[in-house]
């Protein structure tokens, strides 16, 4: 019998603890597969965030560092600068990257650090119980804006790709939308491109993945995909913002 698919060596045997339908599991797998495909598993150092993906170190079979909330780009900078021949990535959520870690991501991008950043934007704080995130949509209800995000009180969602694309430092910035087979394929391709860029020494690459949270949005996974397509993409349009 021919084996047509097997678990990537980039993942450990630990079963994912993520909620059913959550994007994290599949996105972890995409990162892990990419490391295996590019044959860089044994020279990669990952940096994981605080948030649901805090446990990423349980699942990845490359070397990995658990960073403080928001500080992953600084930790990744420290690693990459002292061992520049290794591949270094950070994997961060919206609270981690776009709220408490805004300074770190902006400055890592401005320095053009030769790292790859996978940014998961699901418009909420999943791990702590569905609070308002920096990317929460206007009128979206969360546990800390129970009547919906009101710009007069809570301000507006932050578009990370657009913001970082104004800088001279980054090499590659793309926002992807894994809600269809084509979308998943594009996401995988973008993640791979972010790592290839680093291998080529091109500098800072960031892939923003529009993502879901079935648990806290109180939706089925299919409904979360529809929400991404119909609501999130209006505020966060997918596309390549930089590739140079």
């Amino acid at each position: 019998m021919e084996k047509v698919f097997e678990r990537t060596k980039g993942l450990t045997d630990t079963e994912f603890g993520y909620c059913p339908g959550c994007h994290h599991s599949v996105l972890h797998r995409m990162v892990a597969e990419t490391l295996e495909e590019l044959d860089i598993l044994d020279k990669t150092v990952g940096v994981c965030p605080v948030g649901c993906a805090v446990f990423m170190y349980e699942y990845m079979s490359c070397d990995i560092i658990e960073a403080a909330h928001g500080r992953a780009p600084a930790v990744a900078t420290g690693v990459k600068r002292v061992i520049p021949d290794r591949i270094v990535f950070s994997y961060q959520g919206d609270g981690d990257l776009a709220s408490i870690g805004t300074a770190e991501i902006v400055h890592a991008a401005a320095r053009g650090e030769n790292i790859s950043v996978i940014f998961i934007n699901n418009t909420t704080y999943g791990m702590t119980g569905g609070q308002m995130a920096p990317t929460t949509l206007i009128n979206q209800k969360t546990t800390t804006c129970p009547t919906g995000r009101n710009p007069a009180v809570n301000g507006y969602p932050i578009r990370v790709c657009e913001m970082l694309a104004t800088l001279d430092g980054p090499s590659y910035i793309e926002r992807v939308c894994p809600t269809s087979p084509a979308g998943f394929a594009k996401t995988k391709k973008a993640i791979r491109h972010a790592f290839e860029n680093q291998i080529a020494g091109k500098g800072f690459s960031l892939v923003e993945v529009l993502s879901n949270c079935p648990t806290h949005l109180r939706m089925t996974p299919i409904e979360t995909y529809r929400r991404i397509d119909e609501e999130m993409t209006k505020v966060f349009p997918p596309g390549v913002f930089l590739d140079r």
């Binding site: 600084a74 900078t77 002292v82």
Partner: protein
């Protein structure tokens, strides 16, 4: 060959870091430690190392975390308010059992304070500083020579204990010019780092982490840290004594005030008062045993600090009620001069104060220093 130079303490630290084969420096400007990043921005690249001026103190300490996790010798330096900002990262580094060196050139505080000398970060340095049960091994230089010599010692201690080490100094030690012998004669110990996250080639992957959900595992880490600190207490406690043997009164001070007290000991002895000095070199581990032994021998103590009294608490813990422990402190960036400390000493011997000329309106003895 030995090379004597006139350097600031802050610059002595930089040459010490190079002698210690430091691989990476990450920092952020703040007075009075600015010579450190300024010199390191030249010295590090010139010696094959990395220098980054980080966007913040938070980023700087987390870059240290990354570089240390990668198995390299990394350091940062700052001054009081900046050290407060680094505390989260320091806690993570201690919990992840990574080695690194942190320099604090203390200034006046609290808050923004001022850029003059201070010692009010003692508690923050020796009791942990950030959240959780951890300690920093803390060294207190009192000369520019110490600034140079302590850096290789700090990196060795950090590697040996896989724990952050703090160099706790003050603006005078950092800013003063003094001769230093750049002897470059330090023992080179190899510290294997099989735990480093630098690519899982021909081994299983490494994880650097401080998250332990299982309470038993978390307690195990705390116990492991405690065991390390107990070992440090046994093996690394360093101090210097001057005339303590026959002393009736032992002054206890570190950093610049210890230098001032060294002069006060001479002045007091010229006047026939049997005064000695104990200068802790390691503030953590603290020389509690030696202080207890002196207390048992019937000595009195006077602690002198540029704070409202922080190290004095550790002296009192060590003395444990066996002896009197007096305290003299100045704050706000004011450095006590030898005469004012001498007057405290004289008072404790029941003698009237002497004065510096400028205060000399009262009919009493004039200071000789």
């Amino acid at each position: 060959m030995a090379k004597r130079k006139l350097l600031k303490g802050n610059v002595g630290l930089c040459y010490g870091a190079i002698a210690a084969r430091c691989n990476a420096f990450f920092g952020y400007p703040i007075t009075p430690q600015n010579e450190v990043p300024e010199y390191m921005s030249e010295l590090m690249p010139a010696n094959g190392g990395v220098f980054i001026q980080a966007e913040s103190e938070l980023a700087a300490i987390n870059m240290v975390y990354g570089a240390a996790a990668a198995g390299k010798r990394a350091m940062t330096s700052s001054s009081s308010p900046g050290i407060s900002l680094k505390q989260e990262g320091i806690s993570y580094i201690a919990a992840s059992e990574l080695p690194c060196v942190i320099v604090n050139v203390q200034r006046g505080g609290p808050g923004l304070g001022n850029t003059l000398p201070g010692q009010a970060d003692y508690f923050q340095a020796v009791k942990g500083g950030g959240h959780g049960d951890y300690r920093l091994l803390t060294l207190a230089p009192w000369s520019v020579q110490d600034c140079y010599d302590f850096m290789p010692m700090a990196f060795d201690l950090a590697d040996k204990y896989r724990n952050p080490v703090m160099i706790l100094m003050d603006a005078i030690i950092g800013q003063m010019l003094e001769q230093v012998d750049l002897h470059n004669d330090f023992p080179v110990t190899d510290f294997p780092k099989p735990w480093a996250t630098n690519g899982a080639k021909s081994r299983t992957h490494n994880i650097v982490n401080s998250l332990w959900i299982d309470p038993d595992v978390m307690e195990e880490l705390n116990n492991r840290l405690k065991a390390k600190y107990e070992m440090a207490q046994r093996e690394e406690t360093r101090f210097q004594e001057f005339y303590t043997k026959d002393a009736e009164l032992v002054l206890v001070a570190y950093g610049c005030p210890a230098r001032i007290c060294r002069t006060v000991v001479d002045l007091a002895r010229e006047e026939g008062m049997r005064v000695g000095l104990l200068r802790p070199i390691t503030l953590y581990p603290f020389p509690s045993q030696q202080i207890a032994a002196l207390a048992q021998n019937g000595k009195r103590f006077m602690v002198v600090e540029m704070s409202q009294g922080q190290m004095v608490e550790d002296v009192r813990l060590a003395v444990n009620g066996m002896a009197d422990v007096a305290f003299y402190g100045r704050t706000g960036g004011i450095v006590p001069n030898p005469t004012e400390i001498l007057n405290e000493v004289r008072a404790s011997f029941g003698k009237p104060p002497v004065v510096s000329y400028y205060q000399n309106t009262a009919p009493c003895k004039e200071a000789t220093n």
